[in-house]
């Protein structure tokens, strides 16, 4: 029975790719039926094989994490794409030119502070930033918004407060370090960033009216970003399942390595920003600065976000943005940790 599985999954893919766009009048309409039929056949024939394959505790744990990250992130992604579609379809083109200050020096801090109004985690802010850039907002300001929003919005502030009872300085340090790093990245982009690194697909103009454009934008943005989210979720689930926790213990005592280790851990595990404070709080062997680095780096850059950002803004962008953001966030948390914690 297990042999059925690879065979039918191949057929599935072949069916997916077999329709570039040849004689289209005749073939139109087949794809969905094909896809659905193949998936049904796949499901019926491969289910025992799948069950056997995933009976292993390791595979079972991987699958649970993979599904968990996806199920947790998809609603926020839907929220993000609805907002981004609304921005793309209903906000007049000139609006952001009027509202956002002309000079990057002002626009960036304003964008950072306005990040506080989007009460969602990082999955939502990526498509929103994409829509802002398409709508003509300076990329520097859009990126600052994208970074600041998942780190300083009210839900995250409250959950950090709850996770660190009696340590309000942790909340303050987190907000301050995140905001400072987000603004620094915005200014850095305004100085050094090149638009040719960006690959933002233009939305086609829709003649079906605003609502048609709205629904079409949701469909497109969701499918696009969610596809990349799946890549990120798979990587995060793999790392989470395979990297044993024991390697952390000897590093924890070291003041410098401990901070670096938690910053890297934040990138690898890709926990959503609304809950990372609880995880940070439970890493008790580490210094407060290391925990702060975990909470500042996580919402800025992790494997799930890198996948989604390269989907929204292009790979050339992600390859430059991720390391710059990682270093800035790390620096900001170390500075804030030294001053405040």
């Amino acid at each position: 029975m297990p042999h059925n599985e690879p065979v039918s999954s191949k057929t599935d893919e072949a069916g997916a790719k077999a329709d570039p766009s040849p004689p289209r009048a005749r073939r139109r309409g087949l794809t969905s039926i094909e896809a659905l039929a193949l998936l049904l056949v796949f499901g019926l024939t491969a289910r025992p094989g799948l069950a056997e394959l995933f009976a292993q505790p390791l595979a079972q744990a991987w699958a649970a994490r993979f599904v968990a990250v996806t199920v947790q992130a998809v609603p926020f992604l839907v929220l993000g794409t609805v907002l981004s579609a609304a921005i793309a379809s209903f906000v007049p083109a000139g609006f952001f030119h009027k509202v956002v200050p002309k000079r990057a020096a002002f626009a960036v801090p304003v964008a950072g502070l306005s990040g506080a109004v989007l009460p969602a985690c990082e999955c939502a802010s990526v498509p929103v930033a994409g829509a802002l850039v398409r709508r003509g907002v300076a990329p520097a300001a859009a990126f600052t918004f994208m970074l600041a929003s998942p780190a300083i919005n009210p839900i995250v502030v409250v959950s950090t407060f709850v996770a660190f009872p009696g340590q309000p300085q942790m909340v303050g340090a987190r907000v301050a370090a995140s905001l400072a790093a987000a603004i620094a990245i915005g200014w850095l982009w305004a100085k050094l960033g090149k638009t040719e690194w960006l690959n933002v697909p233009k939305h086609r103009h829709h003649d079906g009216g605003k609502w048609a454009a709205f629904w079409s934008a949701i469909r497109h943005d969701f499918l696009h970003a969610a596809g990349y989210l799946v890549i990120g979720a798979a990587i995060a689930a793999t790392l989470n399942t395979l990297v044993p926790e024991t390697w952390l213990a000897p590093i924890a005592e070291h003041p410098v390595l401990g901070v670096l280790a938690l910053a890297i851990l934040a990138v690898l595990v890709s926990i959503c920003s609304e809950s990372d404070a609880f995880v940070a709080a439970s890493l008790t062997q580490f210094s407060p600065t290391a925990k702060l680095a975990f909470m500042v780096v996580g919402p800025f850059v992790d494997v799930k976000l890198i996948a989604m950002q390269s989907g929204t803004f292009g790979r050339r962008f992600a390859a430059r943005f991720a390391p710059a953001v990682f270093c800035t966030a790390l620096l900001a948390s170390v500075l804030m940790g030294v001053i405040w914690l």
């Binding site: 329709d19 139109r28 309409g29 039926i33 491969a46 699958a63 199920v71 009872p165 469909r219 799946v230």
Partner: protein
């Protein structure tokens, strides 16, 4: 990817979410409050799927002469969404259990800074407590509020080497951040406890403690009076 195929994918993702919500299986992956996120998201995705299908059908009936719209720039990457769909609908992995808990350090330290613990009720016997509550009272309050009470704990069995322990997974956002709280058994422990078996433990406070080898955190113990197998609860996480 064509419009109609996109509609199918959107329908499968939205339908998958709603199915998780309807069967209660979502509790294996996310917190209970996430129901209020996944239901609207699932409904919205199905609406988008319906609108997409309707558009595709309309276009099929009277093709616009030059819309040139089919498949152009559409995300191939969206096919990957079939992976979580298969995960949700076909594989349907269960909640994380002993395999994970044996490889992750106990999360007891997360509660450290609480300074006072409310007294336990005198008119309830045994007093049901969560593992985290029992553990923090035992570790950070030297069991002061536990003395003189019979305690009831529910969790699953894991093995620390040869030693059976009681554990429960704590989840703060989704199962990807699940961490176990572990409690050791003091006194007479019945033979043949299977890993992942859910049990109800009745016992009293024990001053014995050990350290979790994975992260060096304290593992408190309970003086066992009885250990009885139970059905796994609807929400296996806390």
């Amino acid at each position: 990817m064509r419009r109609d195929a996109q509609a199918v994918i959107l329908l499968l993702v939205g339908g998958g979410l709603l199915r998780l919500a309807a069967t209660g299986d979502y509790l294996n992956y996310v917190k209970p409050y996430a129901l209020w996120l996944i239901v609207p998201a699932g409904v919205l995705l199905i609406v988008v799927a319906a609108i997409t299908a309707w558009d595709a059908w309309k276009e099929h009936r009277d093709p616009a002469p030059d819309s040139g719209d089919h498949g152009h720039g559409e995300p191939k990457v969206a096919w990957l969404l079939l992976a979580p769909v298969i995960g949700m609908l076909l594989v349907a992995p269960g909640a994380l259990g002993s395999y994970e808990a044996e490889r992750t350090g106990t999360a007891i330290g997360a509660q450290e800074s609480q300074s006072t613990y409310p007294e336990l009720p005198d008119d309830v016997d045994p007093v049901p407590l969560t593992l985290l509550d029992y553990g923090s009272r035992a570790v950070f309050d030297d069991g002061n509020t536990l003395e003189g009470h019979r305690i009831q704990l529910r969790g699953f069995i894991l093995y620390n080497g040869d030693e059976p322990q009681l554990a429960r997974m704590i989840v703060s956002c989704c199962a990807a951040d699940a961490r176990p709280v572990k409690i050791g058994f003091d006194g007479d422990v019945p033979e043949g406890l299977e890993p992942d078996q859910w049990v109800e433990v009745i016992g009293t406070y024990s001053a014995r403690q050990s350290r979790d080898e994975i992260n060096g955190e304290l593992v408190p113990y309970i003086e066992v009076e009885s250990i009885d197998p139970i059905e796994s609860p609807e929400n296996e996480y806390q």
